[in-house]
């Protein structure tokens, strides 16, 4: 199976995402000005500061040429994983509900958090244990949605790092093929850095793609 990791000007977690994905499959980088998704099975919109995060986090990146292809890919049922800035971009372009606001304490937060997997019935979490230890690092991570959403990950009680509504750390769209989360699974794939729990998200995707019936 093949992952495609998007690189915008200002993206900084693309290499870690590519290395993490390469542990379970092939992983290519996709440039923000290209429309060709190179036949990938999963698109990863990684973390960082796309286009400097000017105006609002993710507000400019949503209009990148590659995002037109990603939106089309998602509407056809393709699997899309948005991490941190990628989550913000997916919310800005309407693939996911809600928005990310500045942390309630106004400070950058960088720490390991414990997450409860509240929905294992997604292509992104089927191989995950009930609880994950994964780092967060952001200033704009306070999730907000006026409508009910399909929550996949919650910060464990007492672990909410940003004032996120109902401790929400990750959500999927109604169709279940687009997932966004603030924590960084790509930074938790090697015991050297303290946790390999993030790898279970990439492994879940490999399982899901492997079981897919090829389109005739």
């Amino acid at each position: 199976m093949k992952f495609g990791v998007i690189r915008f000007p200002g993206t900084c977690d693309d290499v870690d995402a590519q290395l993490a994905a390469a542990r379970v499959g092939e992983a290519a980088l996709l440039w923000h000005r290209d429309r060709d998704l190179q036949g990938v099975d999963v698109v990863i919109v990684p973390g960082g500061f796309s286009y400097g995060d000017y105006l609002r986090a993710g507000a400019i990146a949503r209009f990148a040429p590659v995002m037109e292809s990603v939106i089309e890919f998602a509407h056809e049922g393709g699997l899309v994983l948005g991490i941190c800035n990628g989550f913000q971009i997916l919310c800005e372009c309407g693939l996911l509900p809600g928005a990310l606001l500045v942390n309630d304490h106004l400070k950058f937060v960088f720490r390991q958090v414990r997450l409860d997997v509240v929905d294992h019935n997604t292509p992104f979490t089927r191989n995950c244990p009930p609880s994950l230890s994964i780092p967060v690092k952001h200033t704009t991570g306070r999730y907000y949605s006026p409508e009910p959403v399909q929550v996949v990950l919650r910060y464990a009680p007492g672990e909410n790092p940003n004032g996120s509504q109902d401790d929400i750390a990750g959500v999927v769209n109604n169709a279940g093929n687009v997932f966004g989360l603030m924590p960084h699974p790509e930074h938790a794939v090697d015991a050297l850095t303290g946790s390999t729990d993030g790898l279970t998200i990439f492994e879940s995707l490999r399982t899901a793609v492997g079981e897919r019936v090829p389109v005739a």
Partner: protein, 89 residues
């Protein structure tokens, strides 16, 4: 046409920047201040002001979390105002 767009956090959404400013003012001796909110100001020169609402909806603001107010006709351009007020560097 000069235009100015004021963007504010929507009412009811926690505005920690506004709260921080509200708490800082009494520390400087300014009392009786409440309902402080911090937003964003976008100044533009536009040929067709009828496009402004669409610009706000699609890019300048996120209508889910922000409200915007468009002002036209009475705002000085960026550089002009700075020199008039003697605030240019």
């Amino acid at each position: 046409m000069r235009a100015r767009v004021l963007i504010r956090p929507k009412a009811g959404i926690l505005d920690p920047q506004g709260q921080a400013v509200e708490r800082a003012l009494p520390a400087l001796g300014f009392t009786g201040v409440s309902e402080v909110h911090v937003g964003r100001l976008v100044e533009l020169e536009v040929q067709d002001e009828s496009q402004l609402p669409a610009m706000c909806e699609r890019l300048l603001a996120n209508p889910l979390i922000e409200e915007y107010e468009i002002q036209t006709g009475h705002t000085a351009a960026w550089g002009e105002r700075a020199s008039e007020e003697g605030t240019a560097a």
